[in-house]
Amino acid sequence: MAVLSMPGDADSSVGLTGRPVYELRGVSKTFAKRNVQALDKVDLTLREGTFSAIIGPSGCGKSTLLKIMAGLQPPSSGSVILQGRPVLGPRRDIGMMFQQATLFPWRTTIENIVLPIEIRDGKAAARAKYDQARQLIDLVGLKGFETVYPGELSGGMAQRAAICRMLITEPAVLLLDEPFSALDELSRDFMNMELQRICLERSATSFLVTHSIPEAVILSDIVYVMSPRPGRFVEAITVDIPWPRTLDMMTDPRFGALVHRIRGHLDKGAFQ
């Protein structure tokens, strides 16, 4: 099995030269209670303005990695450094989005969006952010739904609002945990293209966890393939398809080749 050890050489080989925003070095996680090693010496560098995806079978430690990166769980060993400062807990420069939009039904769309500000800085600060929130609502195409309660939003619209809520704190990195996997396939493709547009427009540094190979390939500069038990990166695959991507590119032979290569890794993992 071609195990490319990550950091330096893999990154330079893909020719990405942006400033490193998020750096993980030798991150391992062992759950002592069950004596399970979830992550084994993971190295990862997210460079400014790039989109990275991580893909792997269930139980390969993706969620654990994401929780560590979000500051929700400490690693057992290794360093986790965002913008030059170690991550020791949840931070406002980390934006996160989940499979469920998790909007609160007693708050209007815009009130949901400024919630992170309200929690961190209080009500007055949240109100001061309304203008910015409206710009974000504009950006994601939710104009006119500012004062609507989430009960009236469709699944896709709710996720758009969740994108705004993630962006309102102007995070340095976006952590996306299968953000659209609860949507139907058509909405999902569409929302992925919207996500790409938003990320390009803001030159966001993004990190996506997904189960879908095409989704990972169409959205990313680099796709990390992960193997289970203990979770480690098997290969980092550079996606050399030009930006902006369109859904038509899924028929591109290069796209097919990349999907094939990733599938090969995952199938191998499954029969180990």
Partner: protein
Amino acid sequence: MTQAHSTVGTASMPEQTIWSEHVSWIDRVPRWVSMLTLLAGFLAVWQLVYIIELVSPIILPSPAETIEDLFVVGRNLLTGDYMLHALWVTTQEVLLGFIIAVALGFALGVLVGETSFGERAVMPYLVAVNTMPKVAFAPLFVSWLGFGIASKVALAAFIAFFPVIVGTAAGLHAADPNARMLFKTMGANRWQTLVQLKLPIGMPHFFSGLKNAAVLVVVGAVVGEFLGGGKGFGELIRVAAAQLDTPRVFSLIIYLSLLGLATFWVVAWAQRRFVFWHKESVTEETLAP
């Protein structure tokens, strides 16, 4: 119509292609008609039982007698006579009992639902208290608090507070893991998570506890009056029953049930007002005003 169909072509196409779902006639009757019919049927059976003297008329009055007495009691209430005073006494007991039950139940519910000390150490005792026949405490409350309204308020609150604890605690557990994780990523502290997430999400549970309490608190007040005297509606019922004035007992019970209905409605109204985002089940919605 037939022409329009024939343009479709095939001769085998059936004439009628628009179909409607069959709705049984009983489901098509307007609500007020079916409700009045049921009431009339009930009164008819009651009258029949009275006529054939299935039960001694001393124990069971006729519907006509009862309705007549409803007017007598109604007039007494409207003219502000002693019955109105009795109703006011009972209303006070119910309101005070309810307020105490809600305050106590909410506080204990937060303790039990939010802290693991409460859940593991306090809850077992609360469950044990709840399994006691609480009415049996009435004589104790009377000897502690006297024959005034205090002893009735205490019994009413005691009988009604447990559903509020259960509702509050269940509500605090209602937030799903995603929402909790989201609050963590936003750096929310425990207080913020409680006030901004857990309490609002738990509101529907809290209110079902309140609705149970609203019904039980009337039970508590009346039982308290039966066992501890005083000047309330329960006392009027007790006296009427002792005098075998059964029409009076029936009409007093009907007025008392209006008091219970009113408390229930106030809670249901508050729920609609404050938990506007939560759609209730059909059954509960039709009961609300």
